[in-house]
Amino acid sequence: MTRGFQKAFKAMMISSSILVGSIAVFIFAYVMIKGIGGISWSFLSASPSYLENRIGILPDILNTLYVLLTTLAIVLVIGVASAIYLSEYAESKKLARLVQGASQILSGIPSIIYGLVGMLFFCQILGFRTSLLAGSMTLVIMCLPTIMKTTQESLEAVREGYRESSFALGAGKWRTVRSVVLPCAADGIVSGCILCIGRILGESAALLFTAGLAHSVNGYLEGMSSSGATLTVALYVYAKEQGEFQAAFPIATILLVLALAVNLSASAVGKRLSRGRS
């Protein structure tokens, strides 16, 4: 290996890193510059109307919020419960391996397939029709592996001594899990939730056929049972099918700001986690 090659190699490493970083910066800057001007109070607080030639994303914001809360509430229960089972109760290694294999498969399935199966199962067979509820249930399956993995990792990081002390004090298994192990693992569960929030906010293909495209302002219960577009789906429809870029770029700006917030809070929690463990 000549000196020249080694120098060139190092230069390539540095320029690749700069390239990767600048792509991220470029996308953020480009979307912000194009979109920030379009964000106004009326844009955020109105629903769209062809008659009045008005663009507003209030229904999309509400739909996103509804889907986010419903999905998180359900996936938290299922995901944390299965992680507890795997790390605290499971005696059969085969079963644990089966569940983990299933969760690994789930994390690799593309969202369009989730959307398709969600449409068949939740919308048609269970009769939810195209609704936010069907969309949320589809996202629950999609987010399940994330919550399971982060929770299980943090449960397994809880020191064995804590459990033993609790048993020694006469607490039963479930009591120990509930009042000793789970609180110690709270940070990991929170970071799993943050990852899921990011995934839910960014998801579009799985929601297109399950949650639909409507833009109407509804209360929570009514909203869950009717069709509605989340911010990402609305962005897709505005940009691709209607060519309304003065709506698409502001939505993209909002999505990027949310992604940034999710990222920052994830790394904050991550730092707390690693400090707690060391």
Binding site: M1, Q6, F9, K10, M12, M13, I14, S16, S17, V20, G21, I23, A24, I27, F28, Y30, V31, V77, I78, S82, Y85, Y89, A90, V99, A102, S103, Q104, I105, L106, G108, I109, P110, S111, I112, I113, Y114, L116, V117, L120, F121, I141, G198, L201, E203, S204, A205, L208, F209, T232, L235, Y236, A239, K240, F245, A252, L255, A259, L260, N263, S267
Partner: protein, 277 residues
């Protein structure tokens, strides 16, 4: 309590079973009617024509081309970046770049699609003097960017896990830094690096929305400057108005996509197992 928890734990298994059963049962009928060979290697897709054709070879090839090319473009950049972050960068630089990589991985795919539509598509149109820039090339570039965070993150983790002593012994024997990285660090981390590429390829094959917005969506055989349709976008673009055999054929496409993903999954778990042992 144990039984309750167990039933929750089985939710993941049940979901996989549900997805598999649904895809197989709703995907097979159309394949049966069209004929497996006709379906897989047929070149003509005209689902709404009077004399309908249901050949998905263009979609399969487009998806494979796009995934392969985006990995070919993304992997050298991603690997060089991972090598820099793991071995050469100062703590500060590493923190900055990996934050940016995290940000890149958090960008929703519709935003990639939007930026691609507004920047890449017109750019390609001008650069190559085309009548429309929506093409396989645009999709490949968007996917190359989208697979970067996966490649960088997973490879960096793998490179970080290479024991320091290996590298130190190589350096002590008089090898230079670059020789050590290429001859010791990368071979030692090869399973993790391969896993990052498989993960990236899975993401590229499964991506729907971003490529839908930049690829023009015509059912052509793949060609770099032509509008193309992928397995994912074939499903997404016709699902909303499909009926009858056309709808069933869309489920068959999903089944084919699922088979691809399962093959990648197996490759991945094989690699993970190998790197653990």
């Amino acid at each position: 309590m144990k039984a309750v928890l167990l039933s929750f734990a089985l939710a993941a298994v049940a979901s996989v079973a549900l997805i598999t059963v649904f895809l197989v049962s709703s995907g097979l009928p159309a394949i049966g009617k069209i004929g497996l060979l006709e379906f897989i290697i047929g070149k003509r897709w005209a689902s709404t024509a009077k004399d309908p054709g249901f050949g998905i070879l263009p979609f399969i090839l487009s998806s494979l081309y796009a995934a392969t090319c985006s990995i070919l473009i993304g992997s050298p950049i991603g690997l060089l970046c991972a090598l820099y972050l793991s071995k050469a960068a100062s703590k500060r630089t590493r923190a900055v770049i990996s934050t940016l990589v995290d940000l890149l991985s958090g960008i929703p795919s519709v935003v990639f699609g939007l930026v691609g539509m507004m920047v890449l598509v017109p750019g390609i149109k001008q650069l190559f003097n085309l009548s429309d820039g929506s093409s396989l090339l645009s999709a490949i570039i968007v996917l190359s960017i989208m697979v970067l965070p996966t490649i960088v993150k997973v490879s960096t983790t793998a490179l970080d896990a290479v024991p320091r002593e290996y590298e130190d012994s190589s350096l002590a024997l008089g090898a230079s830094q670059v020789q050590t990285w290429l001859g010791v660090s990368i071979p030692a981390a090869r399973n993790g690096i391969a896993a990052s590429l498989v993960l990236g390829a899975g993401r590229a094959i499964g991506e729907a929305m971003a490529v839908m917005m930049v690829s023009g969506n015509a059912a052509n055989m793949p060609s770099l400057f032509q509008s193309v349709r992928f397995l994912t976008t074939a499903i997404a673009s016709e699902m909303s108005y499909s009926s009858g055999l056309q709808r069933q054929a869309l489920f068959s496409i999903a089944l084919v996509l699922y088979v691809f993903i399962m093959i990648m999954n197996m490759a991945l778990s094989w690699l993970v197992k190998r790197s653990a042992s």
